[in-house]
Amino acid sequence: MRYRSIVRLGVALAASSLVLAACGGGGDQATGGGASPSGATEAAKTVKIGLMGDLTGENSGIVIPLRNAAKLALEEYNATNPATKIELVEYDSQGVPEQATALAQQAIKTDKIVGLIGPAFSGESRQVGPILEEGTIPSISASATNPLLSQNGWKYWHRIVANDDIQGGGVGDYISRALGAKKVFVIHDNQEYSKGIADVVSKTLKGSGVNIQTDVIDPQGSDYASTVNKVKAAAPDAVFYGGYYAQGGRLLKQLRDGGVKAQFLSGDGSLDAGLAKGAGGNNADGAVVSCPCLIDPTGKASPASKKLADAYQAKYNAPTAIYVGEGYDSATAFIEAIKNGNTDPESINKYLATIDIPGVTKQIKFAPTGEPTSGEVYVYLFKGDTYSLLGNAKEASKPA
């Protein structure tokens, strides 16, 4: 009795294995280099452009505006009834690199995108970049600012925003030039972005002969008392914080509560009303925050900027926010490529290497490494819960 059931079980398992083998063999495709052919066959009607980033997680506030802007650009283009329409496919990675890689595989192999806007964050860009390279899919990031990304020798990767080295250098120069600071305390929370930009600021300032002291805070903790004590003891002219607004606001509050009156500066991770809310009261007044991005809700920077600001306001009932201009420009670059008859990833990438048109935030033109050829750093001034453009970091002066 027993032996029969064993044999039955064994046969059943073997049979199912064979069935699976048959399905598996048929369904899989050999993968490897080379352009995906189906991009060309779909070129007749619609191609797909992907957008990857944190759309529902806690930092989605930084990504949603650029998604909206890209969507706006594509809708404007599709409305002109072109030969090839573009469909935007969104990939919510929540900023988590592992999720991003699985989604990237999906995007390349199943959805067959011909280009990607994003990934939005540097961490996921680092993991997804090699996959896009091997899949030969061009990408343009509107917001990943880690300088190391362009040093991997990637040929299909681009970004339209200046990297943290440029931003750190810009704000460092501002501190020494406009503020005339002789002693600066640099703080970061030991995350990749935070340390990156803080280190560049330190280096820039040291090069200008400024005295630097540093400390590190715990991004998950809430008590920065030891750091506050060190800052008090050092009595600097200015404090620069590299990191995000949740921690930055908390730090600023504890500094002010602790009696530190020095000028407070930070990088684009702090460019959010959350900085002021976290600092409480009017502790954030006078804080200066840099960004390689141009946030121009009133559209005073240029006619193109005004056009975008108006269109964005009309469609989304909200003023332009962080990376909106850059998101719009990324989409524009792909639109131009497709408009000019390039509908498969390889030719789109070739086109991007030569593109040279004015965008909303800057000239859309890429260096061979994928970096944008022009990169400006802007500084913004906080008052109350909001911030406004103070000017270009190279020219802006000390806040009143």
């Binding site: 529902t56 806690e58 400390d215 030891s226 750091t227 004590n229 509050k253 976290g278």
Partner: protein, 323 residues
């Protein structure tokens, strides 16, 4: 390194005691539950978080509009604390009822209880992040994960200022409140019937039953008291930092549990000693090695202490608390 430590000695000591007091209050919850059930109540950190949310909600609902000081501050603190105590206590009791009691009744292992605790902790964190915080504070759902701030309700002033030894009112209040609660709890455990029941159950459940103790009620009371202590800590936290978020319990919980073990788990006074010592170690460690190493310093000290004194600094357990 060492010179920065010397210049910051007094501020580090004050801050360490202040931070340590909050650790101590939360550690009480861990140590009491462990003493009676031998369970690491992982979800206690969320009991604390719930308390902070309740406290913050109270503040925003009352609509505190300007900074308070002196009697007004203490009065507001008491009000906020009472609400936090009730909410945290109820949460802790609910936790026991849903996550641990079924396991207890079915003879589950400690490991299963730990997993249940982790599950409850995750559940509460996400519940607050996704539903409670956005609803209570009128935020879009994404905002549930971001810090929520209270109005500025504490007028800071230096109560003591002798040279380098400066003590701010909020920091002093934290230490005083913690010590007061600790003394009250100590008296409670040693002088009341319920306290005696807790000690008896901690010592031996079987014998306690034989002596007529209602185990279920004792356990519920233990959780409630531990939760109440976390509620006090929550109110004090809100006074010190004026913000909270769904994740605030996690790190604090680990630290508080470390403090409980450091002081001698199951020992109430050990929780106070462990908390204060841990706070000091963190501050001194930050001053000497840099803030990024403070957690490493804390854990290394823990291992060293346990190696030479395996039951913690004060060592004795709940059942042997002296009257």
């Amino acid at each position: 390194m060492l010179d920065s430590f010397l210049t910051q000695f007094w501020p580090a000591t004050v801050d360490g005691l202040s931070l340590g007091s909050i650790y101590a209050l939360v550690a009480l919850g861990y140590t009491m539950v462990y003493g009676v059930l031998r369970l690491i109540n992982f979800a206690h950190s969320e009991v604390f978080m719930v308390g902070t949310v309740a406290a913050l909600f109270t503040l925003t609902t009352i609509g505190v509009s300007h900074e308070l000081s002196g009697v007004a501050l203490i009065g507001m603190l008491l009000l906020v604390a009472v609400i936090a105590i009730v909410v945290s206590g109820v949460t802790a009791m609910g936790l026991e009822y849903i996550a641990y009691r079924p396991l207890r009744k079915r003879g589950g292992s400690r490991l299963a209880a730990l997993i249940s605790a982790i599950g409850a902790s995750l559940f509460l964190q996400q519940l607050f992040a996704l539903i409670v915080i956005p609803r209570l504070f009128d935020l879009p759902q994404v905002g549930g994960r971001l810090p929520v701030h209270s109005p500025d309700w504490v007028r800071l002033s230096d109560v003591i200022a002798i040279g380098d030894f400066v003590v701010r009112n909020d920091k002093l209040l934290v230490v005083v409140a913690a010590v007061v609660m600790m003394v009250a709890l100590d008296q409670f455990v040693n002088r009341t019937n319920l306290g005696r029941g807790i000690r008896a159950t901690a010592q031996s459940p079987e014998n306690a039953v034989l002596m007529g103790v209602n185990i279920d009620r004792i356990i519920t009371a233990t959780f409630a008291i531990g939760g109440a202590m976390a509620g006090v800590a929550a109110a004090l936290y809100l006074m010190r930092f004026q913000e909270t978020n769904y994740f605030v319990g996690f790190l604090l919980g680990i630290k508080a549990f470390t403090a409980a073990v450091l002081g001698g788990i199951g020992n109430l006074r050990g929780a106070l000693v462990g908390g204060l010592v841990l706070g000091l170690i963190e501050m001194y460690g930050s001053a000497i090695f840099g803030s990024e190493w403070k957690d490493v310093v804390a854990f290394v000290v823990l291992v060293l202490v346990l190696m030479f004194r395996p039951t913690g600094i004060l060592g004795e357990s709940l059942q042997q608390a002296r009257a």
